[in-house]
Symmetry: C2
Subunit: 195 residues, 2 copies
């Protein structure tokens, strides 16, 4: 087959994949993981059931694919923020702020916090890998900041990175962007002061 034809197929495949995962994610957010069936997803996505099963074996697999894509998008956004020009302290603050807003927005969009769904999605190995990558990224920035004399040096950078990620998860429960910015400021003070 000519290359162009392959590209067209691949583009089509990706569009269907995206339509399926987005539809499933919206339905699950609305009604919970256990209340959604493959038939509903096929109908809402505007494809046949047989086609749906060519892409995914079940609802959980669709949700996992959707979530893996989101996580990679988030990680990409954070890497982009990290790679902007600026001192390490500045870049660390920018990455932490971006992460806090990702947590905040994800939580807002979910409407209610479905802890069972979150636990299910977070068991995925790809998610664990992305989290490790994020933690390494923050650890690296903390190390640079400590070397530059901007951050405390009495606590190992790995522990400070874990502290940041955990503290900023509180952004999920905050109601305003101003509160998210305050949380980022408080978390950053923890990195600086040795008081």
């Amino acid at each position: 087959m000519p290359k162009l034809w392959n590209d067209t197929i691949e583009t089509h495949r990706r569009a269907v994949h995206k339509a399926i995962t987005d539809t499933a994610a919206a339905l699950v957010a609305e009604r919970g993981l256990r209340a959604v069936t493959m038939s509903e997803i096929a109908e809402k996505a505007g494809i046949g059931r047989a086609t749906l099963y060519k892409y995914f074996p079940d609802v959980e697999a669709i949700l996992r694919a959707w979530h893996a894509r989101r996580v990679l998008e988030h990680l990409g956004r954070l890497i982009e923020v990290r790679d902007r020009p600026g001192g390490s302290g500045e870049r660390l603050a920018a990455v932490l702020e971006a992460f806090a807003f990702i947590v905040h927005e994800t939580h807002q969009r979910q409407g209610h916090h479905d802890s069972e769904l979150v636990a299910f999605l977070h068991r995925d190995e790809k998610v664990a890998q992305a989290r490790r990558q994020l933690r390494d990224m923050i650890e690296e920035l903390v190390k640079e900041g400590a070397t530059a004399g901007e951050l405390r040096t009495d606590v190992p950078p790995g522990e400070l990175a874990a502290y940041c990620l955990q503290a900023l998860t509180a952004a999920g429960g905050l109601r305003s962007n101003a509160a998210v910015l305050r949380l980022v400021a408080v978390t950053l003070s923890g990195l600086r002061s040795t008081g």
Copy 2:
């Protein structure tokens, strides 16, 4: 029935209740929630299956009862720490340290972090209530500390309380008591500095 006889029955009931819940918790920690049956719990606890069903309808109910008891024990420990003599800053530090060690020890005991089990137990309304109580307790101490001029006043005490609880959850992933103490120190710096 005479009072003494009632007391004896009640004491016996409580002992059986405790034996069942402790046994179930140990089995579930070992093999996961779905791998444990009522028959195994009865056998390990040294009671008949019929007796077990007089106490609990299923494994999940046993686990919930066990967890509710643990949560209340933890809350009691934290209230006891809060009520020791001392200034508000000192008492806040003591409560946060005690909380961090509870998180750390709970995580150590679980061996591996069974996120599905955690999500299941935390859906319980009693747990949510205990968490709110703990948050209120910390908010109150933060308020006192801010009034005393020991803590920052540019962030609402409720937000600082949420930050503390979330940040200290990182104690679950730490390997040593020294690291837990460092996390508490870092978290406290976030409350103090306005840098």
